[in-house]
């Protein structure tokens, strides 16, 4: 009926350790677990499964001049960008808790500007735009991943952005035809516990993980989570179905623990409940933001599916009332303030040059994502889901 639940393999000690933890920690843990659950909930037909867990309160009164203003290292300020006015409807696949304050801040800059944000899952918003046809009120689509942007572009529902906007980010982070542009980045990483492992204990080849006896019964993954599925999709594209199937089976044989959310994995690694896992990079930073001395560090694999770098981004929908104004809104997402916001509040990678990631992370240039992987392909998760179900993972 159901797939195995690998948590049964958890060593007894870790449970006791966990049970003796503070209630705060336990709350975060259960919150993390539940957030993953939430991403699937009915309630959540609409969730992308991506936008979960913030630990920070965005303090936007301070943007531009205060806390964040001090940290702006480069890029163009919103002040030096074209003014915005009129009504702009934004279909946002990014969660309100994460980007709501940023959007409110941009709105507050211009007295003539009225932003109407609409928060739903990225995929649902794409379908909504397609169903609405030429009668869609959407001006801008702000997405959690490149795949849904690419899908909308393939359906010819985007208005190309001027090259002066797309050129603000590196070539691989925008559509070659200018249909969409990345606004922040998220890297796949291996969080590990520094008390029990050193970086050299971890292979730099993702395909080698199932063979690591030292990781037996001590790794975690979140197969129901969108970013994890994108990662397996990348493996399917880069290494083929058979190798991916073997990898999944190998990890199951290794006794990998199942979590419902990647934030929960980062917390579990910090607690020593497991030694390592597979998560997006910012979950590690969010744990460290709360607990600076947590024995938690980030490792990367090299040039393979384990190191994909996906982007959240935006495009102008072809139904935009004023495409130029809509494009200028997208430009604001690449401003120094917005990029600093992504770096400090959502712990994502800023995409414009000169704004550095926050925390103990390599710069974008130091990352080794696989070459020649089209990010927009990563949303084709259907064959991936089939594969995962085939080996007995319930997703």
């Amino acid at each position: 009926m159901d797939s195995r639940d690998t948590s049964d393999a958890s060593p007894a000690g870790s449970r006791n350790r966990r049970a003796s933890g503070t209630s705060r920690r336990r709350f975060l843990q259960s919150a993390g677990t539940l957030a993953g659950v939430a991403s699937l909930a009915g309630c959540t037909q609409f969730m992308s499964g991506e936008e979960t867990n913030t630990t920070e309160t965005p303090e936007f009164g301070q943007i531009g001049s205060g806390r964040l203003g001090d940290q702006i290292q480069g890029g163009t300020s919103m002040k030096d960008m074209p003014d915005l006015s009129g009504e702009i409807t934004i279909y946002s696949g990014r969660g309100e808790a994460l980007v709501g304050e940023l959007i409110a801040y941009i709105e507050s800059l211009y007295p003539e500007l009225d932003i109407q944000p609409r928060y739903e899952g990225s995929s649902q918003l794409v379908q909504k735009i397609l169903n609405e046809g030429q009668n869609s009120p959407a001006d801008v689509f702000f997405s959690v991943n490149a795949g849904s942007l690419g899908f909308l572009a393939d359906e010819n529902r985007t208005e190309p952005l001027p090259s002066e906007i797309t050129d603000m980010v590196r070539t691989e982070f925008h559509d070659p035809d200018g249909n969409w542009v990345g606004t922040s980045g998220r890297a796949r990483t291996i969080p590990y516990n520094t008390d029990s492992l050193s970086e050299s204990d971890l292979p730099t080849d993702i395909m080698a993980f199932p063979d690591q006896e030292q990781l037996r019964d001590s790794m975690g993954w979140a197969p129901s989570y969108g970013s994890f599925q994108a990662f397996v999709t990348a493996m399917r594209i880069l290494n083929g179905e058979e190798a991916t199937k073997q990898w999944l089976e190998g990890m199951l044989d290794l006794g990998v623990e199942e979590y419902t959310d990647e934030f929960a994995i980062a917390l579990a690694v910090a607690d020593g409940e497991i030694d390592a896992g597979f998560t997006n990079h910012y979950y590690i930073q969010r744990v460290l933001a709360d607990r600076e001395d947590a024995p938690l560090a980030t490792a990367f694999t090299e040039g393979d599916a384990g190191a994909i770098f996906n982007v959240a981004g935006a495009c102008v929908v072809d139904t935009a009332a004023d495409p130029e104004m809509a494009a200028n809104f997208v430009r604001h997402l690449l401003s120094a303030e917005a990029q600093a916001y992504f770096a400090t509040t959502t712990y994502e990678y800023p995409l414009i040059p000169d704004v550095e990631p926050v925390g103990n992370l390599p710069t974008i240039d130091e990352l080794n994502p696989p070459a020649n992987l089209d990010l927009t392909q990563l949303s084709d998760i259907r064959p991936t889901l089939d594969l995962m179900r085939e080996v007995g993972i319930s997703v």
């Binding site: 049970a19 259960s30 677990t33 699937l40 009915g42 309100e96 379908q127």
Partner: protein, 544 residues
């Protein structure tokens, strides 16, 4: 009394009179409107070529999903009947202590959205859940598996059995208990009297409740998703998220398959329901109360077990979130506002009113003018109930945007569309309850009024309607309750900036701010509980 065989296609021989044209057209129009969104699903599904469709539908995943869904519906429906009928009997016909309290407590799980129930169960009984943490010092390393079929069936049963419980109670209260006493004097054992007298009388009510359970189970997404059990809705969701044209096709095909399963369930219910019994001139009497004796203790344990499990777990978890959430720093935009509660109550009240009114002619026709046409109309009104909210929402977005013109752009038709979506999805609750109301009003009463010179309309308004009112109101309240909990269609069709309790719960949970989700969830439960109390106060269908 006009008992008759309610075969799959009943002939009109049992009808009171020939079909009134105006009423038939009105009911037919309502049923057609309700079925209309299915045109979109059908059109989408037909775009898939025959061979592709065949290949998709015979894939291992598709077949397994079909089997899983069918199994879940069967087990949940059987389990709800197994729990709800004894509980209803205990609270109506026996000397169970604190009957009124148990009636309220056992009905209340209906006000808890099943996805919140599922969250709560996972966080309480999951592998790394609250209960396991509490028990860990005692050396308990693992709890029985909550995920998968067991968890999905358990949670679905706990949060849907009240449909059967409430309708069975109503039926038990209004049936003529003297019949049971008569059977007892004829030396039937208690069980035999129950089997031969009570069961046939309550069967229509039980199957009506079970039908709602079966269709709800089929359309619910949250519970199986949280419990990681692959059913139609969950796979449709995953396919839609896969954002490949292929995925859309499969989602449409699966939705179509879902609709076909719905038809099968409707046909089965129609057969099982058996003969509807018309109330004995509205003069049911209470028979002697059954004395439980030593059985009192197991009976109390059953009541406590069911109500406790279904209510204490989610309320406990929500309260824990609330307390812990207090210290949690969170995005300011997630702060709770009472406006959300007013919005929820507002749209739910309108949906309840519209559904109640729309259900009235359909229910009247189905009871008073039996024919193939009225049977078809009544059955058609149930189809939308099993269609997942997201599918319904997307269909209405499509129609609204295509044919709504500037009205859609200006969001002027979004509220009507939203209400329409609710009515399509929840009309059966109104129809079922109103239908039960009509069954208990003898047509001879309105005949009497006619002989006193009243016009048919006046006779209906002055005599029948007041007697049916409790059933009508009960159905409307049920629609109100369900609309309060609805999320997917609300998200898709609400005007931008319009937030309700559930859309707020969704935003807060999606970003991991559980403290902020707890308040609207508790408000939702309290408001729903109040409307449930109103429903119980008039005891739904109790005509006297």
């Amino acid at each position: 009394m006009a008992p008759e065989t309610d075969s799959l296609f009943p002939s009109s021989q049992g009808g009171e009179s020939s079909l009134p044209l105006g009423l038939t057209l009105l009911s037919g129009a309502i049923a057609a409107a309700v079925v209309f969104p299915l045109v979109w699903i059908l059109a989408n599904a037909l775009e898939v070529g025959g061979t592709t469709a065949f290949n998709l539908l015979t894939r291992e995943t598709t077949v397994r999903v079909f089997v899983n869904s069918t199994l879940l519906v069967a087990v949940v429906t059987a389990a709800t009947i197994a729990f709800a009928v004894p509980l209803a009997y205990l609270t109506v016909r026996t000397d169970l202590p604190f009957k009124r309290f148990w009636t309220v407590a056992l009905s209340m799980p209906l006000v808890v959205p099943s996805y919140i129930g599922a969250f709560a169960f996972v966080s309480a009984f999951g592998p790394r859940g609250e209960l396991q943490s509490l028990l860990a010092p005692l050396g308990i390393e693992q709890l029985p598996e909550i995920y998968g079929f067991t968890g999905a069936a358990l949670v679905m049963t706990l949060y849907t059995y009240p449909y059967v419980f409430i309708s069975t109670r109503a039926s038990l209260k209004t049936m003529d208990a003297r019949l049971v006493d008569a059977a007892r004097t004829l030396k039937h054992s208690r069980w035999e009297a129950f089997r031969r007298v009570t069961i046939p009388q309550i069967r229509p009510a039980v199957t009506a409740g079970a039908l709602l359970v079966a269709l709800y189970t089929l359309s619910d997404f949250g519970t199986p998703a949280i419990m990681r059990f692959d059913v139609f809705t969950k796979v449709i969701y995953a396919e839609q998220n896969s954002l490949s044209t292929f995925g859309q096709d499969l989602a449409a095909l699966l939705s179509l398959q879902l609709v076909i399963v719905t038809f099968v369930i409707l046909a089965i219910e129609s057969r099982v329901r058996g003969s509807d019994t018309i109330s004995t001139q509205g003069t049911s009497t209470r028979g002697a109360e059954v004395r439980l004796g030593a059985w009192k203790w197991p009976a109390l344990a059953l009541c406590l077990g069911v109500a406790g499990l279904a209510l204490i777990v989610p309320v406990g978890i929500l309260t824990a979130w609330l307390i812990r959430g207090g210290s949690e720093s969170a995005a300011a935009s997630l702060a709770f506002q009472w406006e959300y509660a007013f919005n929820s109550v507002g749209v739910s009240a309108v949906a309840a009113l519209v559904a109640g009114l729309a259900g009235l002619p359909i229910a009247y026709l189905a009871v008073r003018h039996r024919s193939r046409a009225s049977w078809l109309i009544e059955r058609a009104s149930y189809v939308g109930y099993a269609v997942p909210g997201v599918v319904m929402g997307l269909a209405l977005v499509y129609f609204g945007a295509r044919y709504g013109g500037r009205l859609y752009q200006q969001e002027l038709i979004l509220f009507p569309l939203l209400i329409f979506a609710y009515v399509v999805r929840f009309l059966p609750q109104a129809v079922g309850s109103t239908r039960a109301g009509f069954l208990q009003v003898s047509p001879t009463l309105s005949d009497a009024a006619r002989t006193l010179g009243r016009s048919p309309v006046a006779a209906f308004r002055e005599v029948t309607l007041p007697l049916v009112a409790p059933g009508l109101l009960g159905g409307a309240l049920l629609v109100f309750l369900t609309t309060m909990k609805e999320l997917p269609a609300t998200l898709l069709l609400r005007p931008t900036g319009f937030k309700t309790l559930v859309t707020h719960i969704w935003s807060a949970q999606a970003s991991g701010h559980f403290g902020h989700a707890a308040i609207p969830a508790l408000v939702l439960v309290v408001v729903s509980a109040l409307s449930m109390l109103v429903m119980l106060a008039m005891e739904g269908y109790d005509v006297k």
